[in-house]
Structures are given as structure tokens and as C-alpha cells.
């Protein structure tokens, strides 16, 4: 303003004649004429339909098998047993038998599934301490208030890992058996490498101590195990000492809270180095030996085992291909109607007025 006044003259206050100030910036006004809109519609329709078909074919080549074992087969008795919390410490094993009709080709993933388990409750989800899980010594003994009320056990010791999420960790374990003519054999599963790389290596670390010679049990000394747990965190995997503590992969998988109340979580991946599983899971009879610990009766939940192969864009899910097809068809339909009207009423807009 001050400058404008400085160059006084007869037209000193005349506004600049720039395109911006006069609101005359070169602009593109999308003109929605039949000639521009229709090709666009047809193009969209074709893209969507083609993509949909392709996705549909891809999905058809994947396999999935769900086995609900909540009280199937011999698990019925375990289900009854878990109704009573007093029996929590008694182990219960059961077996569920199933049959695979077509060979699961490719990588086969072994999931456990929970139905009606709300891992996405706000208070539940918040009830964890990432600082503790990342191995901060301060948080190990002094968990965050977010873990309330699962901070201290009844002895007053800080719980590690604290919080409701860890407390409610799924603790069934499975052994998948393949029954062929050559006899029964355990299907080999990778129980490691089932987590996100960043989880295993960044988000979850065991507490770091100066003295490298200390065992994990000593590191966790002075902490209590979560209320519902049968074993302490440093003893989760009795077969692999490096899979214990906070970096236990089952724990890490569990800690990645599911989005929906019905979810599955990865338990293992088929080890295809061993015959006859090099191609995937062959067709035949299978059984799962289950160490049945996790009670679901309280929330009317169900448990299942899921075997699945995946495509390049995810598991067996027909929704996306169908969505593409439907959308594509809708656009096509609209385009056809528009074309028909356009054709009927002539290409000249004036005709419409008559």
C-alpha cells in the first residue's frame, strides 16, 4: 500500500492489469459434451470389466480351507473344560480331522481364526505398552499407564508384557498331520518369519542389558507374567531359545491387533523344502492336533484353523473382482443409455428444444 502511494501520478491507484489480479488466469473448463464424456465412460467401463475378469480368474486359482474346531470332534470335551476358569491350568489336547480335495499349490499359509473376538475394542487396543515391547528397561519395570489394569500382578510385580492385549494372547498350539498311504507325518511349518520384518526387528526387542551372559529369565527377573498366561514371556517357545521374550513371533502376531471381530492370524507357513510338500499341500486326509487352551465360550466366540494359498493381491476373496465387474457394468450401462439418448435426440443440442 505504502509503495503504491509512493509512485504518485494521475492513475497511481489503478490496479495492476495482471491475469491473476483480474481473475483471468488461463483456465480449463471441462466441457461435458457427449463427445468427451462418452468415450471416457466407455473407456472406464472396459478397464473395470477387464480388470475384474482378470482378478476373478486369479482368485479362482487360490484355495482356502477353514476348519472350525471350537467343539468339533474330540475338542468338544476341551470346550467344556475351558468353560470353567478353575481348569485353566489343566492341559487339554484334541484332534480334528479334515480332508483336502484338491492340492493347494504354491505357498500354503496356516492361520488360526477367531470369530467374535473384538480385538479392536478401543480400550483393549490401547492397553499395551510399546515402550516395554521395544525393550526399554525403564518401561519393563514401570509399564505405561495405558496398561491399566494389567500393570501389576497380585504380587505387586510389574507385568511383562503388560496390558490387556498381551494378557489375552491366543495360546492354542497346533500340529498339522498329513495322513497318506505312506503313513501319517507331521506337515512341516515355518513358525518363524510370520511377522512383519519391521515388527520383529524394530518394534519388538527384548530388554537390553549390559551383561550379555544373562539368560532371558534373568533379564525378566522382577517382572510377573500376564494374568492369563501359563508360562512367562521368556519361556514361550520351549524349542527355540531365540524365539522367546518380546520377540516371540506368536506374540508379535497377536500384538498386531486385528481390524475386525472375525479375524485370522498367521500361525505358520508350509515348509516346501520337504517332500511331499514341495508343490504345496497335496490332496488327502489331514488332522490337526490342538493343544486347546483358549476359552471362547465367554464371548460366544469360535475358533478355526485356516489353510490358504494367496494370489498376488491377497487371499481368496471374490469381492474385489466382483466389485470391479459390477462397477464396470454399471458404467457400461450408463454409457449405453447416454449414447442411446444422444443418438435419439440427435447430436445437435438444439433439437432437444423441440
Amino acid at each position: 500500500m505504502g509503495k503504491a502511494k509512493a509512485n504518485a501520478g494521475p492513475l497511481a491507484r489503478r490496479p495492476d492489469n495482471s491475469a491473476f489480479k483480474q481473475q483471468r488466469l488461463p483456465a480449463w473448463s471441462p466441457m461435458l459434451t457427449a463427445q468427451t464424456v462418452l468415450p471416457f465412460f466407455y473407456g472406464m467401463a472396459i478397464v473395470c470389466v477387464l480388470l475384474g475378469v482378470w482378478l476373478l480368474v486369479t482368485v479362482q486359482n487360490t484355495h482356502e480351507l477353514k476348519v472350525d474346531y471350537t467343539h468339533a470332534g474330540s475338542c468338544d470335551k476341551c470346550f467344556e473344560k475351558r468353560k470353567d476358569r478353575a481348569n485353566a491350568n489343566q492341559s487339554c489336547n484334541c484332534t480334528v480331522v479334515f480332508n483336502i480335495e484338491n492340492t493347494f499349490k504354491g505357498d500354503v499359509f496356516f492361520y488360526y481364526g477367531l470369530i467374535n473376538f473384538h480385538q479392536n475394542l478401543r480400550q483393549y487396543m490401547d492397553s499395551r505398552d510399546d515402550g516395554q515391547m521395544i525393550g526399554r528397561n525403564k518401561n519393563l519395570k514401570n509399564p505405561s499407564y495405558y496398561c491399566e489394569p494389567f500393570i501389576k500382578d497380585k504380587n505387586g510385580l510389574p507385568i511383562a508384557p503388560c496390558g490387556a492385549v498381551a494378557n489375552s494372547m491366543f495360546n492354542d498350539s497346533f500340529t498339522l498331520m498329513y495322513h497318506s498311504a505312506a503313513g501319517s507325518r507331521v506337515v512341516p511349518l515355518f513358525r518363524k518369519g510370520i511377522t512383519w520384518y519391521t515388527d520383529k526387528n524394530v518394534k519388538f526387542r527384548n530388554p537390553q542389558v549390559e551383561n550379555k551372559t544373562l539368560t532371558l529369565a534373568q533379564v525378566f527377573e522382577g517382572t510377573g507374567q500376564p494374568l492369563y498366561w501359563q508360562k512367562p514371556v521368556y519361556d514361550l517357545d520351549p524349542w527355540d531359545r531365540n524365539n522367546n521374550g518380546f520377540i516371540n513371533e506368536d506374540l508379535i502376531v497377536w500384538m498386531r491387533e486385528a481390524a475386525f471381530p472375525n479375524f485370522k492370524k498367521l500361525y505358520g507357513v508350509l515348509n516346501r523344502a520337504i517332500e511331499p510338500f514341495t508343490d504345496g499341500l497335496p490332496a488327502g486326509n489331514y488332522s490337526v492336533l490342538i493343544s486347546y487352551n483358549f476359552p471362547v465360550e465367554y464371548f460366544q466366540g469360535r475358533k478355526e484353523v485356516v489353510l490358504s494359498t494367496v494370489s498376488w493381491f491377497g487371499g481368496q476373496n471374490n469381492f474385489l473382482p466382483v466389485a470391479y465387474l459390477v462397477t464396470g457394468c454399471l458404467i457400461l450401462l450408463l454409457a449405453v443409455i447416454l449414447t442411446a439418448v444422444w443418438w435419439k435426440f440427435g447430436k445437435n443440442g438444439r433439437n432437444m428444444k423441440e
Binding site: R14, P15, L51, F117, I134, K203, F260, F263, P295, N317
Partner: protein, 1201 residues
């Protein structure tokens, strides 16, 4: 409003003379501080101000709610972010504005002035801010006054100072101020050290036109102080070498500062409507929260006593009852859903409005080269109201017309003279008298009337004479040239003067003689022809007059008026009418050559210079509608009153002569004729004034004078007493004649009115002028068509006016079949259509009838009648009536009103209307000061309303709707999720995205679109004013549109929620890995939605959208990579990085926006085309060819849909 002017503690009491005042009263110093804040007070004060806005309180409440553990939803610190952001954006804006004020303050405070130092006994250069009350200040010509100063001394021999008050009221004519009377006779220089008086005056107030006080001298003498003695801060000294004054009011107590109140705050119609919908949003929010709370309670209840393993107990370990947890959840949900109430909406609207104001400012079409002025937006927040106007109330003079007055005709003593053709008629008569060389009193009465008429034209005003060669230099009287400093005693010059003076007087006489009947100066009708025709200019002494000026370079000699450059004299008048009359009189050789407070000098052709002793000036006021001067006639020595005023008033004051004698009959005839001519003038659209005179006997005068002096010296109710005194004087007048002054229409007025009318605007003209004049102007500017039926309402009493209204009603009924007159419509919106059906009626109402019509018993009827008419003219209306009419229409019809005017009499109307527009024209700045928008010309109104108004409205309306859509769509996503998480208040959208989505990721494109989008081009809007009705009927933002928007938002959010839901169902996806794509999809959908709404794409739109998307991914990637533990309770570590590697993410990004926006794409086209179909016909007929293509394309689709 009267402060008692007594020496009570409340009154300013100033002691001067001795350095130690007995009683210290705090006076503000001259440092001005218009800043609102100091460094210390900024934060608390600004926050306090911001919390006056309800929305801010609400957001702070929500942020604080987050600190309550049972219902916290986000990281509490993070939840503060939006509030802090909003508050700080506003605070930064305030701070910047304040800083600018501070800078200008500093500049002003550090200007220099000469202040008398009591210790050094001389004037010292000081900063303005160092001047104190009681300081003596010396001011030189063209200096600006640093404070309100009481004038004590002036170098002017008449002890006058001329000031220009343009900065105060915009009036450019010079005003005279005089030295306090006690110092009048001070011959030598004023010596401050000898000053020894006490000044008492009223408390500081903002009344520019009033100042009262006393000065008490040590001798005990007391003199009154008047506004004539006060020089106001901000004015400029003109025509005066030097003056000295004492500071009375300093700094913020000066009248200029007290008058300075910042921009006005108004709330626009759109904003009011928006606030209603914000209210609805609150209700929707509460419903959603309640729904969730009940859902949560039920969900808890279904588990009964068996608590599921994932149910988290309260920190105390106690189990929460379903009811209690439902209550907690309700609060939590308010936090989670807070985005539904658009936090950033208010800030965004402010930003967009500032940009709109900027663009309106910059528009070259609203710039007037002649006056070098452009549009000023004085109210920053009602730009969109410009697009919704329904009624325009316009002043006539200066608004529709130029207010450049040209004298056209006059009638004197019943004889009519036209200025152009018959000029000689009067003059030849006037010259006649020269040969009679009789005293004036013995001349025939019509001749004296002519002379008196011109004398009245010349002196009955407040015109100041100046010379254009030395602008702003006062032209003195015939007392001879006045020498400036250093030339005072120059004998050469004095001698020269004598030569010139004598030469003039001699030659003047000669020219008469040589000219015989004086034709030489008559023919041209201008002073110059006389001068050139005369011989003496070529003579030696005339020449020496010229060379004298050049020779005495450096000592600027003031020109002697009437001698050398008489034709160049300029008159500075308060109103253009006055100037026109004085110029006209000069054209007839009756020129005003000088004006002093107590003397007016007039040069008459044969009589030479006559000095009238000016006894009183009774200024013009709008109640009396006249002004008078009381003079002592130099020839007859009679006390004569000359009165000039509106014909309606003057005619009533004329003494009706008796019908007995012939003289009386003749008088009556003259009266009758004059009245006829007046009507004729008015019919020609001229402004009429009557001139009258009265001769007082010494006794009459003495009686009146006594009362008048009492009134003048009265302390209380002085104005009222003076008014009464004037009334007493202005009676029994003798009519001299009347004048007709033409006021030309401004350029483009008829076109503007026609196009505004096409735009569905009702135009009412409210004027103080005569009915005939007004009607004539109305015809001239196409407000009335020749074949219009005109209803005139003139009534003397309420009963009669009521009666006439009733007749009018029946008249309507009579006409009903012929003109298909519809019944008064129930809603204002349909009144537009009605106004098109009834286009044969014009209503004219005069001020007196208007007073009855505005009465509460009749106003409904009046309105009904007025609404049925195409145009309404209110004549002879007072400023108050003008504002009452506006108020009545605004309140009763519930319409948007715009008042436009240029003078002080329009101020009240401008203030009452929804939008007040001032014309920065001839009559000062009062109207502009009161207005929301100030225009250089009336025709600018067309672009301002039709283009900028339309744009501002449609941009803002669309932006508001878009805001509601955006927030509702985003929040609904979370709401749907509640069905899958036991109504626990979880959000799959990470808290950061949730909070910054509105503030950052989606904020910029909509600001760009809201600022730059043009739904229709400027050319088309001006060619098709009908498009303006779009805004009048609020078609861009109707109440149902809010709900349509909401439904659309819910649909889109359903798509954006369920496509990812089903795509990820049955998988091992975790919450944030699923929620982040939803956020992305929502962003894409929202941006593409905006893209569909954007009619014109400039590079800025592209940049802003690219920026938004880029910003989102950058922030997401950085946020997800930065810290695995910092953002508890959520932990999105590496989520985005992983998602970007998943094909599924991209597949979703393609399908979801398409599916979400497909209905809108199709339906939106249909609706918009359907709506514009009305305009289609016109489009096709009158649109430029290039735009035709566009239209036909759009229409294509209509049919298809």
C-alpha cells in the same frame, strides 16, 4: 450528549503559564497507539477475544475432554493440535494486522512539528508524539496538524487560518478557522512566554462539528471558545503562512482519533444459514454419539456377567456397568466425531473472504480513472451478501447523477430566463441602471429584484474564493495585494500596487464608457471576454502587473482578485449547488471576489466592488432546508436578509401580499408565475431553489439580535436555540426568484438500472428532491417507462393517506384482470416472479405521505402496494425516513437490502441496510465512512453485484456445502466402523490423519476453488443479469441442499468404508493397515469430488491438488517411519510403506472413488443442467458463439439423464 461546560472535575481543566499546574490531571500524550496488543498482553488478550467465538470454546472443550482418562480417545497433546492450530492461525493474522498498525503508528508518531520549549524559549523540532496538552505549536503552510489545537495566532492579517479537512470528512473545500477572540487584536507576534490564561473546555468527544469552552485570562476576562477556533488533528493548513496554537486534545483524545472506528462487523445471510446447518451438524453429532453409546451399552449387556477376555476393566479393576460405560462412551464419541463440526470451516471462510476482498479491490473495472479511486471494501465479511441482494435503495443526487451542477435557468420576478439563450435579457436590464445612476432604492422593483437576486446568489452561501494558479492559496479581498515574508515593506511593490489599483478603477470606468451599452462584456457572458475586450490589459500598468509576479520570484504574491485574473477565480463550495450558483452569478458579472468572516465583497458591473458587512450566517440544515445571511447593504445601509432554500419551504415563508392594490396583485402574479416555472423546472429534472429577501428595520433587527445573541452565548441547547432564532428571522420574506440547476445523470446509469432490474432487483429511489424532479430523473434513467402507470401518493393527513392507499387497493382490483395481478405472494422468494408480472406500475410518494405510510398502522398496506409496483420513488424524504423505509422493507419483507448513496443524508440508510454502498463522490466522505463498500461510480454497482456478488456467493456457498460434505463423509467412515468394534469408539483412521485431515491434507484445494472458481464467466454474468437470481433465491445453498449433501456424504462414506471392508474381510489385516487405505481413499474421493465441483481449472487448482496428495503421502511416510513408540496408543509403524508395496492398495484406490462418485457424476450433471435450462433460451439467443458450444454440450446430457 451535552457535557456541562463547568469547571467540575470531569471537565478538562488546563493551566498554562506557570510550569507547575496546581492540579495534575492526566492528559493523554500525543503518541497514538492503534494497536490492540502489547508484547505482554498479546497472548491473553487475543485468546480472550478468540474465545468469544462459540466454536472455539467448543473445540477447546473437546480438547480438554480428551484429558479425562475415562473418555480420552486420542493422545491428549495431539488432540490439542487442531485447536492450537486454529487459534494460532487467527492469532498470527491478528498479530500481523497489529504489527502493520504499529508500523503506521510509529511513522505517524515520528513526524516532526515545532513545539515551543518553555525552557529554551523557542520553538524546537519535536516528534509528534512528544507534543503534550498545553504545548504551543507553530504550524506553517501545508503542514498537517499533529493534535487538536486551539488557534491563538495567525500570520493572516484577518487572524484566520484555512484548513483542508479532506482526511477527516473528505471535503476538499477550505474551511476558515479564526483566532480566539481575545487574541484577535494582538498585533505583534504571539509570545508564548507571556501567555497566562486558563482554558476550560468540554471533555474529549467525537463530534467534529462541536467544540465549546472558555478561556479565562488573568485579568478575569472570559471568552468563549467555539469550533471555529479549533484546528483538528489530521487537517492541513492552507493559505496561511504561519500560525500558533495550543494543544487542547492530544493523541487518542483528538476528535479525529475518537472518530476513527475500525471496519464494521456484519454477519452475512449465508453465514447465518451456515450457522443453522452447523447446528444441525451438532445434532447429527449428538445423534451419532447417542446411537454409539446405546449400541455400546447393549453390546456390553449381551455378555451379561461373563466378561469376555478382551473386555478391559476400569483402571481400578472394577467392572463397569453397561450404562456407565455407555455414558463414558458418549463423551469419547464426541471427541472421535469432533471433525463433523468443521473446525477449520470458520478459518477457511475468513481466508477465502479476504481473498475475495482482495480480488474485488484489484478489479480494474471498478476503478475510476477520473477520480483515481477504486472500490474499497470496508466490511470484510459480507462479500457474499452482494450476490443475494433483492432490493436496492438508491439516493438520487450524486448517486444516479453526477452531482456536478450546471446552472440552467432562473426566474426573477416572474420572468423566466434561460442561461444559454437569454442571458442578455437580464443583463441588458441590469446595465440599464447605469445610465440612471440613481440610488438602488429608487429603481423599479423588478430591477432591484434582479440585482438582489444576483447578490443573493453570490453571497448567500459559504463559498470560499481561491485562485487555481496557486492552488489552495486564499484569495484575499480588495484590500490590496498582500506581501509575504520578506517583501513586506518593499516600496517598489507597493508602488506597483498603487498603479495597478488606480489603473483598474480608472479603466473599469472607461470600459463601461467605451463599451457603450456594455455589450462588450455581455456578449460572451463570461468575465474573460470583458477583460480582453477592455483595452487596459494591453496598457502598461496591466503588463507591469504580470511582470511584477515574475519579478518578485520567491516572494509569492497573492493575486489580487478581480483585477488581473478575475476569470480564473475559483470557488470552493461545500455543496456543488452553491458553487453552481456562484459561478452562474459570476457569468452575469456579479462575482464574488472575497469572503471574510465579517465581510463579503462582490463585484458588480457598474458599481465596482461592494463590501457587504456580513452580520450573521445561518447555515443550511436539513430540517429548515434553507440558509440565510444577514448583511448590511452597503448602498442602502439597510439590514437585509437573503434566504436561499428549497422551494417548498421558501414558498410557505413568503408574505402573501394583499390583493387590494396593484402592487399586491402583481406580487401574487409573480408568486403564481414563479410557482409555475418551478414546476416546469422540476419537470425538466432540474433542481430548484428559491431565493428570497427581507429588509429589516433597525428595531426589528435589534429585537432579533438580542435573542440571537442570547442563543449564541447559551451553554446548553445552543443548537436548538439557534434553530429557533433562525426560524424567527426567516419569516415574511419577499420572493426574488428561483433557480433551476441541472444535475446530469452519471454515465451508464440507465444501462446499469436496466441490467440490475433484469437481475431481479427491485430498485427504489429515495431522494430529498422534489417529486417532479425525481420523476423526471426516474424517466431519464429508465426507472420508469413512458407507458408505466404511475401512482402518486400525496396526502395531507393520515386519514387521507390511508384512504388513498385503499383506493389504490381497489385500483389494483380493477386492473387485476387486465394485468393478471397476482395476490401478494406469501414468501419473499416468489416476489421476484411477481415483480415481473406487474410491470406497469410505478409508485411515487412524497415525504409527508411517507411519514404516514411508515406509521405502524399503514406500513403493511404501503408495503403491499409498493411491492406490486415495479419502481418506487420516495421524494422529499428526510435521512431518517430513508432509513425507516429501508428498515421497513428489510424487516417486513425479509429481503436483502442494499442502500447506495453519496452524501451525509444517506448515512443512516446505508447503516441500516444489509449492505451499504457509498459513492466516493462530491459530497464528502461521510457516506463512504459509513458504508461497507465504496464505489467510484454508480455503474460499478453492476459488476460489483452481478459478477463479484455472484461469484462470492456461489464460491462461498459451494465451499460451505463442500465443507459439510467433507467432514460428514470423513466422520461417517468411523461411525460405520463402530458396528464392527462393539461401539467402543475405536477408529481405524489413525489419530494423526483424523486430526490433520481437515487442517492440512484436504484444506488447500478447497481454498483455491473457493477463491478462484468461476461458475459462469464475467462476460456472461453481465450479459445475462438473470443469472443473478440464482443468488437471490439462494439456489446454491438451500436448506435441502445441506441434507442432500449429507446423504451424498453418507453414501460416499459407505462406499469408501465397505469396499475396503469386504476386500479385506476374512484376512489377517490389522487395524491400521486396513484404516490407512481408507484414509487414502477418502482423501482421493474428497479431492475428486472437489474436482467435479470445480468449474474452471487453473494451474493453481492442479498445484493445490497435487500438493495435497503429495503432502498426505509425505506426512504418512514420515510419520510411519519416524518412531515406533512415540504415538501411543496407536502405532502405525511402517504401515504406509508396506501398503505401497501391496497391489491390493492400488486396486482399491482405483475402484473406490469411481464407485463413490459415479452417482454424483451422473446426477450432478442432470441437476445442474436442469437448473440452467431456464436460462437456456437466453443463452442460445444472446450468448457469444464460443460459449454456445459449451451450452449445447451441457444440454445434450440433460436429455440423456
Amino acid at each position: 450528549s451535552n457535557w456541562p461546560c463547568k469547571p467540575t472535575p470531569t471537565v478538562r481543566k488546563q493551566n498554562k503559564g506557570d510550569d507547575s499546574p496546581q492540579k495534575k490531571i492526566h492528559y493523554s500524550d500525543n503518541e497514538i497507539k492503534t494497536t490492540k496488543y502489547t508484547l505482554l498482553s498479546f497472548l491473553p488478550k487475543n485468546l480472550f477475544e478468540q474465545f468469544h467465538r462459540f466454536a472455539n470454546v467448543y473445540f477447546v472443550f473437546i480438547a480438554l475432554l480428551n484429558f479425562v482418562p475415562v473418555c480420552n480417545a486420542f493422545q491428549p497433546q495431539l488432540a490439542l493440535a487442531p485447536v492450537v492450530f486454529i487459534l494460532s492461525v487467527t492469532a498470527i493474522k491478528d498479530l500481523w494486522e497489529d504489527y502493520r498498525r504499529h508500523r503506521s503508528d510509529k511513522e505517524i508518531n515520528h513526524m516532526d512539528c515545532l513545539v515551543y520549549s518553555r525552557y529554551k524559549h523557542q520553538y524546537m523540532e519535536r516528534f509528534w508524539k512528544e507534543a503534550r496538552v498545553g504545548d504551543f505549536i507553530r504550524l506553517r503552510c501545508n503542514e498537517i496538524l499533529p493534535a487538536d489545537v486551539l488557534l491563538l495566532s495567525s500570520s493572516d492579517p484577518d487572524r484566520l487560518v484555512h484548513i483542508e479537512t479532506a482526511t477527516l470528512d473528505g471535503e476538499t473545500n477550505l474551511k476558515q478557522r479564526r483566532v480566539v477572540c481575545s487574541f484577535l487584536d494582538l498585533d505583534c507576534d504571539f509570545d508564548p512566554s507571556k501567555y497566562n490564561s486558563v482554558i476550560e473546555c468540554e471533555k474529549p468527544n467525537n463530534d467534529l462539528a462541536r467544540f465549546r469552552g472558555y478561556i479565562t485570562h488573568r485579568s478575569g476576562r472570559r471568552d468563549g471558545l467555539y469550533k471555529d477556533n479549533l484546528l483538528l488533528r489530521g487537517c492541513t493548513i492552507r493559505n496561511t503562512e504561519e500560525c500558533v496554537g495550543i494543544v487542547i486534545y492530544a493523541g487518542h483524545e483528538t476528535k479525529a482519533m475518537l472518530n476513527n472506528n475500525g471496519p464494521r462487523y456484519k454477519r452475512s445471510k449465508l453465514e447465518k444459514q451456515m450457522n443453522v446447518d452447523v447446528g444441525w451438524c451438532v445434532i447429527i453429532l449428538l445423534v451419532m454419539c447417542l446411537f454409539s453409546a446405546i449400541g455400546h451399552g447393549l453390546w456390553m449387556y449381551q455378555y451379561g456377567d461373563k466378561r469376555p477376555v478382551f473386555d478391559v476393566l476400569s483402571p481400578e479393576g472394577a467392572e463397569l456397568s453397561p450404562v456407565l460405560s455407555a455414558i463414558y462412551l458418549f463423551l469419547t464419541m464426541i471427541i472421535v466425531f469432533q471433525v463433523l463440526i468443521p473446525v477449520s470451516l470458520f478459518v477457511s471462510i475468513e481466508i477465502v473472504k479476504i481473498c475475495q476482498v482482495y480480488f474485488i479491490h484489484q478489479d480494474q473495472d471498478l476503478y475510476d480513472e477520473e477520480t483515481d479511486s477504486h472500490l474499497q471494501c470496508r466490511a470484510l465479511n459480507i462479500t457474499e451478501d452482494l450476490g443475494q441482494m433483492q432490493y436496492i435503495f438508491s439516493d438520487k443526487t450524486g448517486t444516479l447523477t453526477e452531482n456536478k451542477m450546471v446552472f440552467r435557468r432562473c426566474t426573477v420576478a416572474g420572468v423566466e430566463y434561460s442561461h444559454d439563450a437569454n442571458g442578455e435579457t437580464i443583463l441588458s436590464q441590469m446595465t440599464f441602471k447605469r445610465f440612471h445612476s440613481q440610488s438602488l432604492s429608487q429603481l423599479p422593483s423588478d430591477l432591484t429584484d434582479i440585482i438582489d437576486f444576483f447578490i443573493a446568489l453570490t453571497i448567500c452561501n459559504t463559498v470560499v474564493v481561491s485562485s487555481p494558479n496557486q492552488p489552495r492559496q486564499k484569495v484575499g479581498t480588495d484590500s490590496g495585494p498582500r506581501w509575504k515574508i520578506g517583501t513586506e515593506g518593499s516600496p517598489v511593490l507597493r508602488k506597483l500596487r498603487q498603479v495597478v489599483g488606480s489603473g483598474r478603477s480608472r479603466l473599469t470606468g472607461e470600459s463601461w464608457l467605451t463599451g457603450g451599452s456594455g455589450r462588450s462584456w455581455l456578449t460572451g457572458g463570461s468575465g474573460r471576454s470583458w477583460l480582453t475586450g477592455g483595452s487596459w490589459l494591453t496598457g502598461g500598468s496591466g503588463c507591469s502587473g504580470c511582470s511584477m509576479q515574475t519579478g518578485s520570484s520567491g516572494c509569492s504574491m497573492q493575486t489580487e482578485p478581480g483585477a488581473l485574473e478575475e476569470g480564473e477565480l475559483r470557488y470552493e463550495a461545500e455543496s456543488p449547488d452553491e458553487a453552481a450558483l456562484v459561478y452562474a452569478a459570476r457569468a452575469y458579472k456579479c462575482s464574488l471576489v472575497g469572503r471574510l468572516p465579517d465581510q463579503v465583497t462582490v463585484e458588480l458591473p457598474d458599481l465596482g466592488k461592494l463590501s457587504f458587512e456580513l452580520l450573521h450566517t445561518l447555515g443550511f440544515d436539513s430540517t429548515r432546508k434553507r440558509m440565510s445571511v444577514v448583511v448590511r447593504h452597503p448602498l442602502t445601509d439597510q439590514i437585509t436578509v437573503y434566504t436561499k432554500g428549497a422551494d417548498s419551504v421558501i414558498m410557505d415563508l413568503i408574505t402573501l401580499p394583499s390583493t387590494d392594490d396593484s402592487k399586491g396583485k402583481r406580487q401574487r402574479k409573480i408568486l403564481y408565475k414563479t410557482q409555475n416555472y418551478l414546476n416546469l423546472y422540476a419537470a425538466d429534472g432540474l433542481r430548484t431553489l428559491c431565493i428570497a429577501k427581507k429588509v429589516m428595520t433597525k428595531e426589528e433587527y435589534a429585537v432579533w439580535l438580542r435573542h440571537h445573541l442570547e442563543a449564541e452565548t447559551a451553554i446548553q441547547g445552543r443548537e436548538e436555540l439557534l434553530f429557533q432564532s433562525a426560524l424567527r428571522l426567516e419569516i415574511n420574506l419577499h420572493l426574488l426568484g428561483a433557480t433551476g440547476v441541472e444535475d446530469r445523470l452519471q454515465d451508464g446509469v440507465p444501462e446499469t438500472i436496466a441490467s440490475l432490474r433484469k437481475a431481479g432487483l427491485q430498485i427504489w429511489v429515495l431522494t430529498g428532491d422534489k417529486q417532479e424532479t425525481a420523476i423526471n430523473i426516474a424517466y431519464a434513467c429508465k426507472l420508469l417507462e413512458p407507458d408505466d402507470e404511475i401512482i402518486t401518493l400525496n396526502a395531507d393527513s393520515q386519514v387521507r393517506s390511508s384512504h388513498s392507499t385503499l383506493t389504490l387497493r381497489s385500483f389494483q382490483k380493477d386492473y387485476a384482470p387486465a394485468y393478471s395481478f397476482p395476490p401478494p405472494p406469501p414468501s419473499p422468494s416468489s416476489s421476484q416472479t411477481q415483480s415481473f408480472l406487474v410491470h406497469r406500475l410505478g409508485l411515487v410518494i412524497d415525504g409527508r405521505t411517507l411519514a404516514y405510510a411508515l406509521d405502524s398502522s399503514l406500513d403493511e398496506k404501503f408495503l403491499q402496494v409498493a411491492r406490486s409496483c415495479r419502481s418506487v420513488l420516495c421524494c422529499r424524504s428526510t435521512p431518517l425516513q430513508k432509513s425507516m423505509v429501508v428498515k421497513l422493507v428489510r424487516n417486513k419483507l425479509k429481503v436483502m437490502t442494499l442502500a447506495i448513496g453519496d452524501g451525509a443524508n444517506d448515512v443512516s440508510m446505508i447503516q441500516v441496510a444489509d449492505v451499504g454502498v457509498g459513492i466516493s463522490g462530491q459530497e464528502g466522505m461521510q457516506a463512504v465512512m459509513a458504508s461497507d463498500f465504496a464505489l467510484p461510480r454508480f455503474r460499478n454497482l453492476q459488476k460489483l453485484l452481478l459478477v463479484h456478488g455472484h461469484w462470492c456467493y456461489s464460491r462461498l456457498a459451494n465451499m460451505i456445502l463442500y465443507f459439510f460434505y467433507k467432514n460428514a463423509m470423513f466422520v461417517a467412515l468411523i461411525f460405520w466402523y463402530q458396528f464392527y468394534c462393539g461401539f467402543s469408539g475405536s477408529a481405524m483412521i489413525d489419530q494423526w490423519y483424523l486430526i490433520f485431515f481437515n487442517l492440512m491434507f484436504s484444506a488447500f484445494p478447497q481454498l483455491i476453488t473457493g477463491t478462484l472458481d468461476k461458475d459462469v464467466s464475467s462476460e456472461t454474468l453481465q450479459e445475462l443479469p438473470q443469472l443473478y437470481m440464482n443468488g437471490q433465491n439462494s439456489e446454491e445453498y438451500k436448506p435441502y441442499m445441506f441434507w442432500m449433501t449429507m446423504i451424498d456424504a453418507f453414501y460416499q462414506s459407505l462406499v469408501c468404508f465397505f469396499i475396503p471392508y469386504f476386500a479385506y474381510a476374512d484376512s489377517d489385516v490389522d487395524l491400521l493397515t486396513w484404516g490407512t487405505p481408507i484414509t487414502t481413499l477418502a482423501l482421493f474421493t474428497i479431492l475428486i469430488h472437489l474436482g467435479l465441483e470445480t468449474k474452471t481449472w487453473t494451474w493453481m487448482n492442479w498445484v493445490s491438488i497435487t500438493f495435497s496428495v503429495g503432502l498426505f503421502f509425505t506426512v504418512a511416510l514420515c510419520y510411519n517411519a519416524s518412531c515406533p513408540t512415540c504415538y501411543s496408543p496407536s502405532n502405525p509403524y511402517w504401515t504406509m510403506q508396506r501398503l505401497l508395496r501391496e497391489p491390493l492398495f492400488y486396486l482399491l484406490c482405483v475402484i473406490t472413488p469411481v464407485a463413490a462418485l459415479l452417482p454424483r457424476l451422473v446426477r450432478g450433471r442432470c441437476v445442474s443442467v436442469y437448473e440452467s435450462e431456464n436460462v437456456w433460451d437466453v443463452h442460445v439467443c444472446s450468448r457469444p458463439h464460443s460459449e454456445m458450444l459449451n451450452t449445447t454440450g451441457v444440454v445434450d446430457l440433460t436429455v440423456k439423464c
